[in-house]
């Protein structure tokens, strides 16, 4: 029997009991829609979280924390040699690295002052890694520096009258009334460093020129109070402190401790080493390479991997729950098909009597139940998309009502990736055919003579 004829045959058969077929398709489509919508929440949440992670961190970034010492005398910290070896890798676009000053510093401008974190960066590398400025330009000469976006909002006039609570607002920034009323761009500021020398604390200042201000951090709770200086300034500071990286000596330190502080720093070690891959696809391979070479690294892909595992589990769970709805619908399909077989016993008997093959009869009934599954899936997918759009539209309203808060960005709680719809269509057809299996087998086993005698 040709496929076309089978379809024709099935269409004719279904037309005999339209309302029953319609109800069964409806039940299947509701099951399908339920399954898709349930899973779509898992997909939506996953996408939301993944996007959130990707949003503020460059996804091509691999952070290198250090390395496992393999040979004796090799330091676990990242040295110039390591940086060079990273740079030589083919898939590496740039390597960003910092040296942090190991002392507390104050920034002075006019009568204003405030704390800051001072680091040495290689401005050329930073440019390659795509550092963006909110204003100004990248430093070119040795005493030019970049400052963090919030630094000017962290400086205030020192006086005995106010306590910290009065000066700072809840974001950790200086309240507007105490702030300086001009920006720091193109101003000369002084970095103040203290060191315990002889028997007393000595203070020294290092003037630097602010030529650029870094971008605002992605998270609004992050406060950027960095100052990025060139290595030449660090050398000046080290000359004053007489310790590596400007480390502070405390009066109660033992002599050998002081000596180590002084001896370090011949080979510079770097913090905040970030290897930037050429593109997202290379990150995974590159991460593995670096791991194999014994580096301790972190990349977003690792976190994504974990999140994806968690969500895979969640989604499988949701799909299982959704499939239960589909299974309930399959009981309806089973019922419909059983009735169809019973109703058509005579017809089947006649067909068998004049040479109808049992396989053909089985395939007709399997196709019929599969068709119910297919139609149910189609309607269900359409229904699910509608419900999904509805959820996404209503969610902001609900949040507004319940929490009295408006969302800054549109959250897509329900997201239906095309393959979810496809999986559901396949699942629906599968479940439908499975529930049609027994009725179909019953059809093939119909006894010709009893059917012809019409006594079944």
């Amino acid at each position: 029997m040709k496929w076309k004829d089978r379809f024709q045959f099935i269409r004719q058969n279904m037309q005999k009991n339209k309302s029953r077929v319609f109800m069964t398709i409806l039940a299947t489509s509701i099951g399908c829609a339920f399954l898709i919508v349930l899973a779509s929440v898992g997909f939506g949440a996953q996408r939301f979280i993944v996007n959130d992670i990707m949003q503020d961190r460059a996804v091509t970034e691999i952070t290198v924390y250090g390395k496992q010492t393999q040979e004796e005398g090799e330091s676990p910290e990242i040295t110039k040699d390591d940086i060079e070896s990273f740079k030589s890798l083919e898939t590496v676009k740039a390597v960003s690295h910092k040296i942090q000053l190991r002392t507390e510093t104050e920034i002075l401008y006019d009568a204003y002052s405030g704390g800051s974190t001072v680091s040495v960066v290689d401005f050329q590398s930073e440019k390659e890694t795509g550092m963006k400025l909110s204003s100004g330009r990248m430093p070119q000469s040795e005493n030019e520096v970049l400052i963090g976006y919030h630094l000017d909002q962290l400086l205030y006039k020192k006086s005995d009258e106010q306590t910290g609570d009065q000066i700072f607002n809840q974001n950790g920034l200086v309240k507007e009334e105490y702030r300086m009323d001009e920006g720091l761009l193109n101003k000369t500021v002084e970095i103040e460093v203290e060191q315990y020398k002889g028997d007393e604390w000595i203070t020294e200042t290092f003037p630097v020129e602010v030529v650029g201000i870094m971008e605002e951090p992605a998270r609004d709770w992050q406060v950027s109070s960095d100052i990025y200086i060139s290595e030449a300034v660090l050398t000046d500071i080290e000359a004053f402190t007489e310790t590596a990286y400007g480390a502070t000596i405390h009066p109660d330190m033992k002599t050998d401790e002081v000596e180590t502080l002084q001896a370090e720093g011949k080979d510079r070690v770097y913090n905040d080493v970030q290897v930037i891959a050429g593109n997202m696809e290379q990150v995974e391979n590159l991460s593995q390479n670096l791991k194999d070479e014994g580096y301790h690294i972190y990349s977003v892909t690792e976190e994504l991997d974990q999140i994806n595992i968690v969500f895979a589990v969640v989604k499988v769970g949701l799909i299982i729950v959704g499939t239960i709805a589909l299974l309930i619908a399959s009981i309806g399909i089973y019922n419909t098909m059983s009735m169809a077989v019973t109703e058509r016993t005579q017809d089947i008997g006649i067909m068998k009597a004049i040479g109808g093959h049992p396989k053909m009869i089985r395939s007709i009934f399997l196709m019929e139940s599969g068709y119910i599954g297919l139609m149910g899936a189609f309607v269900g997918v359409a229904l699910a998309y509608l419900v999904s759009v509805g959820i996404n539209m209503l969610l902001p309203l609900v949040i507004q009502q319940v929490f009295d808060q408006t969302l800054e960005e549109a959250i897509q709680l329900s997201y239906i990736p095309p393959y979810l719809a496809l999986v559901c269509v396949a699942l629906s057809i599968g479940v439908a055919m499975l529930s049609g299996l027994k009725p179909a087998r019953k059809a093939t086993r119909i006894d010709v003579l009893s059917a012809l005698r019409r006594d079944v």
Binding site: M1, K16, Q346, D347, A353, I354, G355, P358, L449, L452
Partner: protein, 232 residues
């Protein structure tokens, strides 16, 4: 064309612990030649239908062998029987056995649809066949909209449509009046002469037996007489 050897058949009736064997056919031997019209006669309950059902593969014999078209069909499985029926056998039933939800046209077409014949060829052959059985004007009628004679013509057309060499008929005239019966018998004779189709016809009607080349009489499941009809 058909050979039956030492064929016996028993039915089992009753529940498990009260099962009884009812012997219906006992040691039947007969042969039907190619192009013959053979009628099987006998009293009601003598086993005629059972014999034909065995030849059709609807039931399996308890003992003995059946050969059709040189094939030993005794041990055929259901699917083998299905293919064999579709290729070699045509069936005419007393109660027509048409599919009520299909038109005359569709009923006649059905065997070809099941065999996977192309639409074009199907159409051509059904139209030809409708012409042959004189149902041109009734092709879109459903069985319930046709008279008994017309229904039987549809069922004959359905049996003939795949041009089987053998047609098995169980009391084909049983539901027809004399006039229609005569028409059908004439048609059977015509087919036999023109297309050399072998017929095995069950009947308890002397009229039918008259068109036969040979009449086989069954009595209580045994072959009683195998009588050649001299005059056709």
């Amino acid at each position: 064309m058909i050979k039956v050897e030492n064929l016996s058949h028993s039915f089992f009736v009753g529940k498990k612990n009260n099962r009884q064997e009812v012997s219906v056919l006992k040691d039947i031997n007969l042969e039907v030649g190619e192009g013959e019209i053979v009628t099987i006669v006998g009293r009601s309950g003598s086993g005629k239908s059972t014999l034909l059902n065995l030849m059709s593969g609807y039931i399996k014999p308890t003992e003995g062998d059946i050969f059709i078209a040189d094939k030993r069909v005794t041990d055929y499985k259901e699917s083998a029987w299905a293919e064999f029926r579709a290729d070699r056998l045509g069936f005419i039933f007393q109660s027509f056995q048409l599919i009520p939800s299909m038109t005359a046209y569709q009923n006649i077409e059905l065997p070809m649809v099941m065999k996977g014949v192309s639409v074009k060829e199907r159409k051509q052959r059904v139209v030809e066949m409708l012409d042959k059985v004189g149902l041109n004007d009734y092709q879109n009628h459903y069985p319930s909209e046709l008279s008994g004679g017309q229904q039987q013509r549809v069922s004959v057309a359905r049996a003939l449509i795949v041009q089987p060499p053998i047609i098995l008929a169980d009391e084909p005239t049983g539901s027809l009046d004399q006039e229609t019966e005569k028409e059908l018998l004439d048609f059977i004779q015509k087919l036999n002469r023109e297309e050399n189709i072998t017929f095995v016809i069950i009947t308890h009607d002397e009229e039918v037996a008259r068109v036969a080349d040979r009449t086989i009489r069954l009595e209580d499941g045994r072959l009683a007489a195998d009588r050649e009809v001299a005059v056709r």
